[in-house]
Amino acid sequence: MKHTLAVLVENKSGVLSRVASLFSRRGYNIDSLAVGVTEDPDISRITIVVHGDDHVLEQVTKQLNKLIDVIKVSDIGTDDAVERELALIKVSADVDTRAEIMQIANIFRARIVDVAPKSMTVEVTGDESKIQAIEKLLRQFGIKEMVRTGKIAMVRGPKKV
């Protein structure tokens, strides 16, 4: 099972490495990790997608909570959360395929952010399945390079983590 954890931490140097190394040394697998500062400049928010059963999740949460710089750990259920990831995909393109790629981008509400004689770069945001879907369609043209941010997530409605 995949879980999305929102981890609030002190915005200090070394904190990210403490969090990341905890995963490797305890043998937990990180699917993705995204980090950035919050509305409070002293606090950063790390979004971690982790794979595992309830026991693993409980251990991950407790071990994270043990780190002195970790302020709060919340499991954001997939149902009631907005989840987004951003990807930049550079595809091979020429005059013959350019229109088709733009069409696909349109359907996915993606944007073309760069065009060159032999390539185009598509920017797409969305949940994981959407990014996978567009990636699959663009693959036929040849993907030269792709970069993804890792997932960020937020609970819907008035609730805060």
Binding site: V9, E10, S13, G14, S17, R18, S21, R25, H55, E58, Q59, K62, Q63, N65, K66, L67, I68, D69, V70, I71, K72
Partner: protein, 563 residues
Amino acid sequence: MTTGSTEKVNGAKALIKCLEKEGVDTLFGYPGGQIIPFYNELYDSDLRHILVRHEQAAAHAADGYARATGKTGVCVSTSGPGATNLVTGIATAYMDSVPIVALTGQVPRSLIGNDAFQEADITGITQPITKHNYLVQDPQEIPRIVKEAFHIASTGRPGPVLIDLPKDVQNIEIDLQYPDRVELRGYKPTYKGNTQQIKRAAEEIANSCRPIIYAGGGVISSNASAELVELAETIVAPVTTTLMGISCIPTEHPLYVGMLGMHGCKYANYAIQESDLIIAVGARFDDRVTGKLESFAPNARVIHIDVDPAEISKNVKVHIPIVGDAKQVLKSLIKYVQCCKSAEWIEKVNQWKKEYPLAYRKSQDTIMPQFVIEQISEACKDAIIVTEVGQHQMWAAQFFKYSKPRTFLTSGGLGTMGYGFPAAMGAKVGRPDKTVINIAGDGSFQMNSQELATVVQNDIPVVSVVLNNGYLGMVRQWQELFYDRRYSYTFIKGSVDFVKLAEAYGALGLRAEKPSEVRPAIEEAVKSGRPAVVEVIVECEANVYPMVPAGAAINEIIDLEEH
């Protein structure tokens, strides 16, 4: 938050003043280029500094001091090689939850990251083996960081904290104001157990017929021995302890069934396997205790009291978790419990105790190692026993009679050979009123025997009893039992003359070669009031029994008769 006046001092002096405010009286350390400013200020201070001969010993000594006194131990080293030499000692303290603060020098801030001379990323290296660590980047932060470090080390589940101090930070003048409290948003240990859970636990106890209390090192670190014994006596339940829990209940207490696990008493293992309720206090269900997890205590419900929530249900499924300090939780639990229906059970346990006592083959001509421990036990009743790691460690756990907490110091979690001697030195510095005996193997003692120089120079009269079996005994035992007696590189006989070694350092050296010589040698060493080494030539292929083979259930025991 600060009170009192500010004064202008350099970082090094500020550090010393902060240590004094924390009540530190002794440091164990070794100087070097990047910690010279600190040592320069130390020259004028009243702090006692013990110059070890290897930084690993500084960390173990701080650890032994902490375990023996309940206070936080402090060790100091320079950057790079000094700091990396502390690592084994820090990891040892981490695994056994011992509060120490390690101070390390670091290259000046402008050189950090340049692979400068004697630079090592010690905060990176020690991240997985410290409770927390700091690289001081702003000298003005020294007071806050020291305050936090001592707070973190000694509260909640105790553990080591490291402070890395760049050399220039030690030299810069700051306004010293020592904070009187710490504010850490992410660190608020729970001490008081949840009342609802405590009541449920009491109910569970009332309904149990075959309860057993399983106590670990947490009982000792929270000073909860009296409460533990009171609980056992109130509900009338047998008590077993882990290696780390030894001495939290007197060995001769009628309800005590000894240590459990791999080298635990047969009756302790039987009792836990047949119990219907385990009351675990400050213990973590380590694999040396549970053996094969799937067959551990199959019919028992589990109450688990621990200050660290992450220990609960980590290895064994817990029915009633109680997060809190052992002393506080036991105090409130005692209020709700009464004697449970354990009369028949106690009889059965006592029957096992009679049937399967700890035993060894007696001998008139050769010295049995277990006999040596019994002799130490009789000759030095209230001593603090410290051990190295190996067979001798297990014999010290099995055959010494402990009567007070904090009198058995051993590396349980990491199993560090070389721990005992420096830890004994630290214990003696912290408890000069006590006789401190290091029980050692001939292999382990050689891992930090250079500290003989330290104990002689500083007049710290610890006695090391070296059980010389000519082998790395514990490994040899495994080779004998599970590897067809192929003694691959475990024979170390003739490596050194321990008596001459002691004498070379200016310590007292004694040797016992016959059973009748053991007691007098021990007594002479203790009476001398000097640092001493007693080399005892013991039966070379004696084994530790009972033994549960790795991966077996803990009632699948190899015992003496079968071998």
